[in-house]
Structures are given as C-alpha cells and as structure tokens.
C-alpha cells in the first residue's frame, strides 16, 4: 500500500510547479527582454494596444473555459462572431436598418445566446458530441453570414459605438472595461456559486456526479449559452474598431481561444483549470505578435506567430498529460 506524500511538499514547490507561475514568469521574461531591445514596448500606448487586443479573446475564453471544464468543446465561436457582427452591422448601420443602439445591442446579445442554447440542446438532448455539433455550426454559421451580407461589406456603424470601442472612457477602450467585468463575473460563478462548483464536479467525474444526483442538462446548457452570449459581447466591443465588417471576421478565432484555454492549464478531459491561468495565457498568446513586431522581425512575424502559438499548445498539452499521470497515481489504489 503506497502512501502518497504529495501533500507534504513545500509551499514553494507547490507554487512554482503550477501552470500560472510558469506563464507569469514567461510573460515577465519576454517583457523584460523586449523592453531592453526597444523601450518603447513599455509605453502606455503600446500596453493599451495589447490590452485591447486581448479583450475579445479574454471575454470568450471565460465561456470556453467552462465548456472545456465540462469535457466538451465549442469550435464555432469564430463563425458566431462573424454572424453576430453581420447582424449587428445590419441592425445598426446607417446604410442598413439604422436601428437604435438600445435595440440593436440587446438583440445581438440575444442572438449569440440563442445560438449557444441551440448548441447546448443538440449536445444534451440530441446527444450529438459537441465536436461534431460545433464543427457543423462552424461552417453553417459562416455560410449564413455570407448570405446575410449579400456579398457586400457593411460600414456606417454609429460613431458613438466606434468611439467607445477605439478610445473608450477615461482612455481605456470599452473592450477592456467589459473584459474586466466578465472576468470578475466568471470568477464569482466559478468560486462562489453552486453552479460553478457543479460544473467542475461534473467534469471531474461524471460517474460520481450521477451518484450525487447531479443532472448534466442544466450545466451544459448554461456553459454553451454563456459562451454564445460572451461571443456576441466580444463582437460588440471589438468589431466597431474595424473600418468595415467583412464576412471573414473571426476566422480561426476559435482556435486561438481554445489554445489559450488549454495553455492556461484547463485540462481537455475536464474538471480542472483556473481563470488566472486562462487570463495569463490570453496575455501571452496575444502579446506574441506585437513582441515580434518590436523585435523587428517584420513581415515574417505573421508566420512565426502561428508557429510559436502551436508550439505552446503542444507543450501545454503534453505537460498536462505527464503531470496528470503522476498526480493521479498508478492503478486504482
């Protein structure tokens, strides 16, 4: 009978082996390195730029984190972003329906939530694996978007919305404010509500959850609907920064979000992960491109961004797998 002595490791060891620590250290090191190279990296303008870029990813990652914790996945968020962008554009643009912000924005949010609910229903009631459902939606939603836009781009969004997205309030763009609120809200859900606890419980052991009488439907419907809502929200605060709305918006966005969640330490098998880790991963992933620009790697930067992101996800997944095997111990003892 082997006694597991993991609980006797020092506090130092326990902090330094955590994913969040590694990510924080990595971010710090990169920042220090780049600012030696070019001190302008630390300018307020640049930092604000990085934060704004992080915002939509961080917002959607909050929802995606919960989805992955329940051992599901949603790879349709990029297409949903395009759909909600097109819908928002059509509703609010002065060249189209020109509705008031008070109608257009809530309607966009409802559209995102509705698609999320649909996904959740297909997974729980339809019993279709989430990878299949969201793979289908990935294509279907993109197709819908192209139809809706009828081959033209949309511009003419209300100037107030554009200003809020680009400059914001007190020098901080709308996206950053909203991202902060979403992070706090998600933290409360995870740490302080029964719902959050049950989401993690379900992901940790579906068998034990059934033995406790927990039902999967409300949990999974929530996580998918939440993600849909957050995708629409991210669209609202980010898309108005662009000059026009094209049907290619959000392409490969889902890959970025899932990457951030997994690199942030959320296990793809469910049940484990922290919001802090996800946030750090979002910052790390987002800063790669600007960092490469400041290092004057030029046009090559685009290709290297993807390569580096890919390497990070590989390290994250393999590392998680190895740690998992050690942590869970050997046979069922």
């Amino acid at each position: 009978m082997t006694r597991n002595s993991k609980t006797e490791t020092s506090a130092f060891a326990r902090i330094t082996t955590r994913r969040e620590f590694g990510l924080a250290v990595l971010i710090a090191l990169i920042t220090i390195f780049v600012s030696f190279f070019d001190p302008r990296f630390l300018d307020a303008i640049n930092l604000r730029d990085i934060l704004v870029r992080c915002a939509p990813t961080a917002i959607v990652a909050c929802g995606m984190m919960l989805v992955i914790v329940t051992a599901e996945i949603d790879i349709s968020v990029g297409s949903l972003m395009a759909l909600t962008a097109a819908a928002m554009g059509i509703m609010l643009s002065e060249n189209e329906w020109n509705l008031s912000l008070w109608i257009g924005l809530p309607a966009t949010l409802m559209l995102g939530t509705a698609v999320g609910l649909l996904t959740g229903l297909l997974v729980t009631v339809g019993k279709v694996p989430s990878i299949i459902v969201t793979l289908g939606l990935l294509t279907a939603l993109r197709g819908f978007t192209t139809l809706m836009m009828g081959g033209k781009n949309i511009d003419g969004l209300p100037p107030s919305l554009q200003h809020a997205a680009k400059q914001g309030f007190w020098g901080i763009p709308l996206g950053v404010w909203v991202a902060a609120c979403v992070l706090v809200m998600t933290l409360v859900i995870i740490a302080w509500t029964p719902l959050g606890r049950r989401i993690f419980a379900f992901g940790s052991s579906r068998y034990a959850a059934t033995m406790c009488g927990l039902s999967e439907k409300p949990l999974k419907l929530f996580v998918f609907a939440y993600t849909g809502f957050l995708t629409a929200l991210a669209t609202i605060v980010d898309v108005p920064r662009l000059p026009t709305i094209e049907s290619g918006i959000g392409l490969e966005f889902e890959l970025l979000v899932v990457t951030c969640v997994v690199v942030g330490g959320v296990s793809i098998n469910g049940g484990r992960g922290t919001l802090l880790g996800v946030l750090l991963a979002v910052v790390l992933m987002t800063m790669i491109r600007p960092v490469l620009t400041y290092l004057e790697i030029g046009e090559e930067a685009e290709k290297w961004t993807k390569a580096i992101q890919g390497t990070l996800i590989a390290i994250a997944v393999i590392g998680d797998s190895l740690l998992r095997r050690r942590r869970r111990g050997g046979p069922r003892s």
Partner: protein, 515 residues
Amino acid sequence: MMIHSQATQSDRLLLRIDRINKAYGGVQALQDVSFEVGRGEVHALCGENGAGKSTLIKLLTGVTRPDSGSLVMNQGALPVGNVRGCEAAGIAVLHQESTAFPDLNAIDNIFVGRELRAAGGFLLARDAMRREAAELLEQLGESIDLTVPLGQLPLAQRQMVSMARAMSCQCQLFIMDEPTASLSAQESQKMLMLVNQLKEQGISILYVSHRLEEIFQVADAVTVLRDGQYVATHAVEDLDDRKLIQLMVGRELDELTVRQTISQPKSDETQKPSTLKVDQLSRQGIFQDVSFSIAAGEIVGMAGLVGAGRSEIARAIFGIDSYDEGTVEVNGEILPSGSVARAKHVGMAMVPEDRQHEGLVLPMSVQNNLTLANLRDLQDFGWLSQTRERGQAKRLIADLDIRVTDPRLPVETLSGGNQQKVVIGKWLASMPNLLILDEPTRGVDVAAKAQVHRLIRELADEGMATLMISSELSEILTLSDRILVIHQGRIAAEFEGATATQEQLLHAALVGSAP
C-alpha cells in the same frame, strides 16, 4: 429460514425489502428477495460474486428501480430510481469504487449537490462549509488538508471524506460496500471502530463484505444471498465460518461434487515437463510470490473472489501488464515482462474476461475477428490472402459449431455463447500450447457452455496446457485437474480437482487458507 427476531417489531424496524425482482438484460439479478434491517443494527450482507449484492445497493440508493417489489423505510416507501430522494430519505453509501471527485477538494466532495448557501441561495456559504467539513473529519479522527484535490490524497483518506459526506447527510442507513477492500490491517481496524461509532449514534449499517473475520467482529445479523435469491438471515451469534460458507455455497450439493464425465482428467502421475512455470511473480500491491506450474495436457483452475488478483496474474503472465519480480517460463524459455508479442511467439494465447471490449472487434465481421490473432500466417508476400482467411474462418466455424448465417456479418450480432466461441477460435488458430482462459463461460447460455467445456477438455487431452480463471466454482471443479485458490494476491491453497469441494474452495477464497 430464520428471520432476525429484533427487526420484526415495527418500531425497531428501519428498512423492509419486500419481494424485490430485478433483471438486467435477460439475467435475473435479484429474484423475490425479502429481508429486514433493524434500527441501530449492523447488518452484514454476504454472497458470492454475482449473488446480487451490487444490484441491491443500486436499488437502495436510487440508481435503478426494481422491476417489482417494494422498499419501505420508516414505514414510508423509498422514492425508487431517485438518487436525491433516497439520500433525503436517509440512505447514504460508501461505494467500493471511489465516487470522489478527484479534482475537487475535501470540502466540495462533501457538499457537492447539497451545498450550503448564502445570499438568498445564489452563492456558496464557503466558510460555513469549511467549518462543517473540518468538524466532520475531526469526528472521524482525521486531519486532512482541506485544500488539496482529493486525487492527491491516499485512498484511506478519500474514503474518510466519503464517510464524512455520508455523515453530513444525517443518514439513518449507511451502506458500506467492501469498505476495507483496499485498506491495510490497521486502517481496516479503524474503519471497524467507526462502524461501531455510527452504530452508537443509532445509525444502521448495511455492511457488504467478503471479510468474514470483520463480519464476525462487528455485525449483529447476517443476510446471505445466492444467485440473486435470498437464502437466510441469522444473528451473528448463531453462525461460524463453516456455517456461513455453507449458506453461501448451498446445501443441495453433496460433499463431493458431481463431475460430468466428458473425459476423465489425467490420473497418471508421470512427471510431465511443465509447459508453463511461474516463479515468485510479484507486482506491488496487486499480487505477491505467485509460483506454480502447468504441464502439457493439464487444466489448472484459478478460483478466488473478484479483486483477488487472478486476472491481474493472468495478464502479467501473458504480457499485457508488467510485473516487478519473478519469472515466467514457457517450455524452458524465460519470457521478458510486458511483451505480448513474445508470449504469442512461444505459443501462449489468452481469452480475456471482457470479450466485448478485449476479445472482439464488435463492428468487424465474424470472419475478420476469427483471423485477427494469426494474420501473419495468412499472408502471401505481405498481402493478406482473402481466400486463406475465408478458409480458416470456415474451418473454425465448423469445428466450434459457431451459429452464424453469414461469416461476413458483424460479430456483435452473435449471441454471447457464439461470441465467446469466436474469441476462443481466434486464439486456437494461432496454434498455442498454453491457453489462458478468463471467465470462459460468463454470459454464455447453457448449451454453449457445455460445448465450451467439452472443447476445453478435448484440447487438454490433445496436449494443451490450460490456465482457467473462473468465479463459477462448479465450472472449476468440473474441468480442473488442479485448483489454485487466490486470496488477496497470493496463492492461498491448492487442491486436487478430483477431490476438492465447493466449500473448501470458498473457504480458501474468503479466509485465505485451506479449511
């Protein structure tokens, strides 16, 4: 049939199980089972593998519903099929397999599903939960780090958390399913002390266990089930080891079991060379110092309780799992640990316990399944020969009498008995000289079972060395020349197949030594 006299008085009666029937896919797991559990009573539930104990637990905890019959607790019917309802009615359970959430800490494990709430029910009352969790664990005499995910704690502590959860439910009936199965002697004693503690608090315990010494130490009454049927309930003072085992095995059998005369097992004692020689095989925590040999033409049966380690020993011999110490030798050649390829190469074959997941590729055709173990023999210059494949399949189907209309049909369409024959056939095609069988007739109908038994005997007569693991004592006694009984990873006893009795085998399996 004696009923424990205390329980029949209604104020002392906590639970009445009345004429319960439950079938699972054609198998009658429980048949007309009735008995009673009194208040503040430690009531042991005994029976061999497959007696129906797990099914009964599932019914009492609301995981499934009975087909007929009733469960009455405190004069009120239990909300059958409703997990939370049964929990609310006062039934708690400590499962055999951990039902802990490995990624959540002790506090959450205790409270998930019944969280303490604050702020109008929306938020968790985290401090209150932490305090109560600490209190409960203190009562159990444990100091556990409440922040650590449960998966990182040793099993004994995980079980304590499960117990704490049960206690926080204010239960009246606590079901304990093999609670000491993976515990050390010291931890087991502590568990028994807790059982007494709970009893003093007026909680009734339904103690499901194979450890007879514990039952005699802590139980007030014992109920025995056999093959899904109720046998008897006795006060523990009226029983001893022998009587209890007799109840579990059945009185209808003679002292000497009836052996079907398919072919008499070898009675000549000429020293045949060993086909298989296992020496001091050990794997930490699973099995220890296993040594035995099997000669050509000999059938060695391996009996023991579920979890004793029989399948694990077989898998280690065949190379599926590796082992820490010891050697496996086949026809004089020592095999490396953990290599199925080498095992196959020297002529070993293994028919696994779980044929559906480990023995067959269900969506694949019968024909393709039959040739999976010796594809190499059916090649022409690296290309698989369809003709030879078909031919081999046809031969095996004829030889083993596999009932299938078209060998190209997926093997999942076959009945259990025929599926088992496919698995056996597949391995026979590889021309082994040592055949390992793990539960060869589980879920197989009577006719096919007889055919399989005959086949095993015929193979042995032709020189096949056979190791047969079975939980069916009659099957072991029918076929084996020699019988090894495994208890907690060690060989507890060895018997001659011709003279052993079911009682002797069960005694050795339960207690760990020959009677």
